[in-house]
């Protein structure tokens, strides 16, 4: 009987556990998490923090779910190290757990700003359901906010402030939100979205230090220009540090995350990784890449489990990831790797509609759609087909995209 151990009960770990049980009915499966609750919907916790969604619908599994599938679930259990020679996982206070095959699905932890008073009361980071509960409670009574981190997670704090009636300043280091993927025209649509919910974007700013009162509560953020922004609530989302400390000395190759091939195998036999923390070989991009999205993490967990159960390179991970922002009147969708590639095409259609497509070697590798999502499935299809289309960008920038207008693919 094979013993599978999965570290992490996020969507990648949980999806792997479910697939392993389907693929290997007799195996022993253990899922270890340092959180106090089983899998919940991490992409809905922002709705709870906004004060809009009750707790119950955010839960995905209860403990019976694991029991029904004969999966051992260890809650509140922190893995401290892995002995890859002895094939044993060491935990903080639940002893040792032996494995034949191990999946590392431990995701990341939000990075703290390296500035004075960044751990003051009232300064929030956002990753767990517990974080969301704390944010909701505090946001309910806060009046003035500061947000730091001009990316996909920072904007969730802007939405929380908007929904909870907190007037906020969104301090950005550059001249626009998500400058790596959006031009000024695209970003301005998002800035208008922020303003519409009472959040003011502040450019060429950031945080030099926070000020606190005698009780250690945040009272202001001071930016590198010396400008002072009063606040009793702050949200910081400047990036993730991947949870891999427990792998120190285990010989697993890392490069800002765990390096895996398309089968989710690390360089160490019988150790796999899945989810946010992987640096995986992206077969569509032809390079190493990283995804930070729910759908991708779920699929990586499934693919890892298929290969673990087969003890073979049975199925490769091939996926076009997408990530939406749903806080404004208009939709926003980022797909693939919009910040990668060697050329791009973009167009603005109206005050709320903009499109950008990123190409590498003439093939689409990602993009951003604001306002009009109608071409998303066509672009994803072209990505999967790896069609060379950069020379026909005009067709792709038509408001209504018709793939029949593309010249037939040439035999390579």
């Amino acid at each position: 009987m094979t013993q599978y151990v999965i570290i992490g009960d996020g969507i990648s770990g949980s999806s792997a556990a479910e697939t392993l049980r389907e693929e290997d009915p007799d195996a022993k499966i253990t899922v270890i998490t340092d959180e106090g609750e089983p899998l919940y919907n991490r992409i809905l916790i922002k709705e709870h923090a906004k004060g809009k969604l009750p707790e119950a619908p955010i839960s995905i599994h209860d403990e019976d779910w694991y029991e029904d599938r004969d999966i051992d679930l260890s809650l509140n259990t922190h893995v401290t190290s892995v002995d890859t020679e002895g094939k044993v996982v060491h935990t903080h206070d639940s002893g040792e757990i032996p494995y034949d095959k191990l999946l590392v699905a431990t995701g990341g932890t939000p990075t703290q700003l390296p500035v004075e008073n960044s751990d003051a009361d009232g300064i929030h980071h956002f990753w767990t359901f517990e974080d969301a509960r704390g944010i909701r409670e505090h946001a309910d009574e806060a009046d003035r906010g500061v947000i730091v981190g001009a990316g996909l997670l920072g904007i969730d704090f802007a939405a929380v402030c908007g929904a909870q009636g907190i007037d906020a300043d969104y301090l950005m280091r550059g001249d626009r939100w998500w400058r790596y993927a959006l031009s000024a025209e695209g970003a301005e649509i998002m800035h208008e979205g922020m303003r519409s919910v009472g959040v003011e974007p502040v450019f060429d700013s950031g945080v030099d230090h926070f000020e606190v009162d005698d009780d250690g509560r945040v009272t202001a953020a001071v930016d590198p220009n010396g400008d002072r922004y009063e606040c009793d609530f702050a949200g910081v989302a400047i990036g993730l540090s991947f949870n891999t400390e427990f792998l120190r000395g285990a010989g697993i190759e890392q490069d800002n995350g765990i390096v895996v091939d398309e089968y989710m195998q690390t360089n160490v036999d019988d150790i796999y990784a899945a989810g946010d923390l992987t640096q995986f070989h992206d077969v569509l991009l032809g390079e190493q890449a990283q995804n930070g999205s729910w759908g991708s993490a779920k699929e990586q967990g499934r693919v890892a489990a298929i290969n673990m159960a087969a003890d073979a390179e049975e199925e490769g991970f091939q996926w076009v990831s997408s990530y939406s922002i749903t806080h404004f009147d208009f939709p926003f969708l980022s797909f693939g790797h919009p910040t990668r590639g060697d050329e791009h095409a973009e167009r603005k259609y109206s005050d709320t509609e903009w499109r950008r497509i990123a190409f590498k070697d003439g093939k689409i590798v990602g993009g951003v759609l604001i306002g009009d999502l109608s071409p998303q499935s066509k672009f994803k299809q072209l990505m999967r087909e790896q069609r060379v289309v950069a020379d026909q960008a005009e067709v792709l920038l038509e408001q209504s995209v018709d793939l029949d207008e593309l010249a037939p693919t040439q035999e390579q």
Binding site: I43, L53, V320
Partner: protein, 82 residues
């Protein structure tokens, strides 16, 4: 709670003719099943987008939408059988 349904559960089989539409709802009861739009595959996302922007029913057979559940998109939308 939504524990009976699995994240991996495949779509249920419905008659070809069944259609659903999306009804904007102001709030969500505690016993509702709720999914974020990023939990859906490309085809269902297309259908959600069409249903919302064109305000018309979409075929349930082509999608992964479950009548009664709430979808978090640019607003909260309940999936209603037509």
């Amino acid at each position: 709670m939504n524990m009976a349904t699995s994240e991996l559960q495949s779509r249920s089989v419905r008659p070809e003719s069944a259609a659903v539409r999306l009804e904007r709802v102001p709030s969500v009861p505690a016993d509702a099943t709720v999914r974020h739009v990023d939990q859906f595959e490309t085809e269902t996302l297309d259908a959600i987008y069409r249903a919302v922007t064109e305000d018309r029913p979409v075929s349930a057979a082509e999608t992964d939408l479950e009548p009664g559940e709430v979808i978090v998109f640019t607003d909260y939308f309940r999936v209603e059988r037509v």
